[in-house]
Symmetry: C2
Subunit: 348 residues, 2 copies
Amino acid sequence: MAVKSAGIRDVAELAGVSVTTVSHVLNNTPHTRVAEETKARVREAAKTLGYGPNRAAQALRTNRSGLVGLLSEEIATTPHAGRIILGAQNAAREHDLTLVIINTDRASGAHAHKDDVQALIDRQVDAVLYATMYHRQVSLPPNLQDLPTVLIDSTDKAGTIPAVVPDEVGGAISAVTHLVDAGHTRIGFLNNDDDVPATHGRFEGYRRVLEEHEIPYDASLVSSAPSETLPGYELAREMLSRTDRPTALFCYNDRMAMGAYRAATELGLGIPKDLSIVGFDNQELIAANLFPGLTTVALPHYEMGAWAVDTLVRLLRGEADHKPLAEEPKILDCPLVVRDSVAAPHAN
Amino acid sequence: MAVKSAGIRDVAELAGVSVTTVSHVLNNTPHTRVAEETKARVREAAKTLGYGPNRAAQALRTNRSGLVGLLSEEIATTPHAGRIILGAQNAAREHDLTLVIINTDRASGAHAHKDDVQALIDRQVDAVLYATMYHRQVSLPPNLQDLPTVLIDSTDKAGTIPAVVPDEVGGAISAVTHLVDAGHTRIGFLNNDDDVPATHGRFEGYRRVLEEHEIPYDASLVSSAPSETLPGYELAREMLSRTDRPTALFCYNDRMAMGAYRAATELGLGIPKDLSIVGFDNQELIAANLFPGLTTVALPHYEMGAWAVDTLVRLLRGEADHKPLAEEPKILDCPLVVRDSVAAPHAN
DNA sequence: TTGAAAGCGCTAACAT
DNA sequence: ATGTTAGCGCTTTCAA
């Protein structure tokens, strides 16, 4: 801190106008007419002084902190949170908002969540983003009621808060279509066994593609288990040991796909020569490091973060209506990420 | 926003004292004597009104925003950043500070970094944390000079900023000692080929353990390549194909270890039966999902984040001296995380 | 031991 | 088209 930085009155003085005019010019205050020539002079003065507004003074006066709270689960364990943060942050910067991130522990229940919200309220954030680490329904802490909120990767039970979620069905359609296009008709599906939207959505996508291509649905080609590596391995091992084994596997997520890779290897099945695999989630650390690279479906974390902030801003400005946004969650695309785990099936 | 929230004057009124007294009591202002009985009354009043200070007013008056900027690389790609954030955040909360995180693009050079720092300055942060995604030297943007700063996972070229880094040597010592303790004497080392502290530190740890146990150093057991999965695979494949192959492998990081797993599998070597492996970094997504679970060394990301904030606070309060902190980086332990990839070597 | 009052830098109602 | 001024809620100097 060499010199005390310039204030609005310094700018006013240098430009030879009043502080009011400076404020009007620099904020583009509506319903205010200032001569172009004066505007130019003010901006010039501000620039030469390196003027930047004192946020605290602004906040005090306008009663808006310019802070947006992001309540996020599991910051520390998956890169998913990182992408949401990045998307939200870039959007926030566009709107001159500052993101304050609080990690909230999913396990620790409503009580802790309330505390986390309180921490944000204490910091006087203007609004909050609530992000979960996988697509599901949440019930929000009651003290969030007073604050404009947008949900990321979740919907609320009451259906009263704007939300953005991934297109699970569409993602599964892309994945399975990719397999069908490669020539596969016997396609196994290793599904999650949790009762979450992704489980149902991805299954629906799978069914729809089969239907569309008039491939009969074979229930024995679908099995489910917890969406981890080991259960994925076990399921795949079992399904691939059969004489009428599928030529391709659509896996609920990349971790299950990782298990399937191991099963294939142990059974002497080459990927993608003898078995094609598609995953879901695009967890780079797994998908890009498996041999061969795993073709998978990306979740739009970045895009959800960005959409949420943009929507919050429009809500705050009254440019968007709360009601329609709250009634239907915004659904964002899950694009296919092609690597090297899919090929045409063997000629029989 | 139902009712306009209580201010200091409301508290004063309810307690039947002046705002001055309220301020003194609530801030524990030093050199101020208030009767215990009055204090109690004030606190009582504050509580019943649900009083919380207006941060903007405080900031305006005291010229301290209570904001700490965290400039972090690669938020979106690894969980490492997440752990640093978590550690920093928890420490920040202790001190009633708010963390503002900005993602900075490592690739985009000094110019972009300067902009990111400027964004923080514009937000009037009281101090900044600068975190890199792997241990290395950095040169800081010039506009950071005016702000109290602590480096996380890096040191600056000028050696003039307090910094905290992992104990690379110690981590490698733990890893290799673990192998030696299991009975291994032919221990291969798959190293990184970048000229970064980890490369040299982990190699030194490796050498030191051999020396300590009077195991002769065999240069043919050490090879290096870029620290990715594929090079790890290639190096391992080559080293394990030899007739005098090592019985254990110490890998520079978990990704190289993942490559080594594949090489072992292809060569029909069981882990840990025929080959023991230890990695480095403890990337859960890899280490916990490999078969068998990878024994590895954890980087103290959480701890570095927490230490950095604590140190910043002590610096800000004048409780710590800048000079000694700047001269020697703080070195934090890298603990061994034991899973299932290490066993005694085969009886020959 | 407590209180009165100035003022942080800005915005906006009002005046000119 | 531009200027004067009150006041946002708090901390802190000074006085009582």
